[in-house]
Assembly symmetry: C2
Amino acid sequence: MTTTMTTAKIRQILGKRGLKVTPQRAVIMEFMMGTKSHPTAEEIYEAVKDALPGLSKGTLYNVLNALVDANILSTVVLEPGAIRYDANVSNHHHFIDVDTGQIYDIPWDRVQNLFNAPGEGFCVADYQVTFYGVMAQNSPKRPKPEHP
Amino acid sequence: MTTTMTTAKIRQILGKRGLKVTPQRAVIMEFMMGTKSHPTAEEIYEAVKDALPGLSKGTLYNVLNALVDANILSTVVLEPGAIRYDANVSNHHHFIDVDTGQIYDIPWDRVQNLFNAPGEGFCVADYQVTFYGVMAQNSPKRPKPEHP
DNA sequence: TTGTATGCAAACGGTTTGCAATGCG
DNA sequence: CGCATTGCAAACCGTTTGCATACAA
């Protein structure tokens, strides 16, 4: 895990929401701000356990729920069985690569306005598109294999 | 639960897929074909337990998984914690009434073609839109209160 | 110092699995 | 008759909860 965000910045974000700064919160936030992979709680646990050897699952969920409540993280449910966490809290869509399992954020404005799509009687307040497909082999967005 | 489909029709659907006809499958199918409510396994269990007093949860999941595998039912995950089942197996979108919790199917062709929306490099094979909002009070689609 | 956050362990809810008994074709 | 399906109970997995201790403000 590489450090991508200063402790000061994290203190500021937490402080602004009236949340205390704990090592657990700082490390988990730093990891989440530095990834776009939409990890599950289990994956976050694996990622931070070197930096937080004593971390318990209970505390992990406690921290994640606090950050979600404070609107620092958002959640997505794309498959049954696990909640995924995302540091991108602005409105956006998702693309799931069915080959690699990678999940990509799709900017909100790439999809045309669909507020009226459902038709008469449906008062749409929000919507979200989930795309399924494969990322082009030559796309720079495609993750490189670990051992080429 | 009202009978909306003949036993013969159910036998035909199951037979075509090479599935044996059991009372459990017949009753569960009949209930699912007659509802648009996207019930969870628990809700299906409650709905059919009068007709199938001995039904076990294990068998319920066994039946539901068999019907999903045979493409007689489809699944949706709209919230964490529970899979919802739908007798509508054709491509469609969903509208969730955030007041009532009701889930409505939105026909596929009410949403314009979004295959190219994510942009360069994303080869979209499929997509699905989830709308959140409220159904107009005067809409005929809105469910009537149990005790007006 | 005070109240909130942590660690641990037990509980929880939805779903799956193993196995003997039943029943459909 | 033979194999698929059922019922039951235990196991599983992600998540929540309760409580005593530790710690940020």
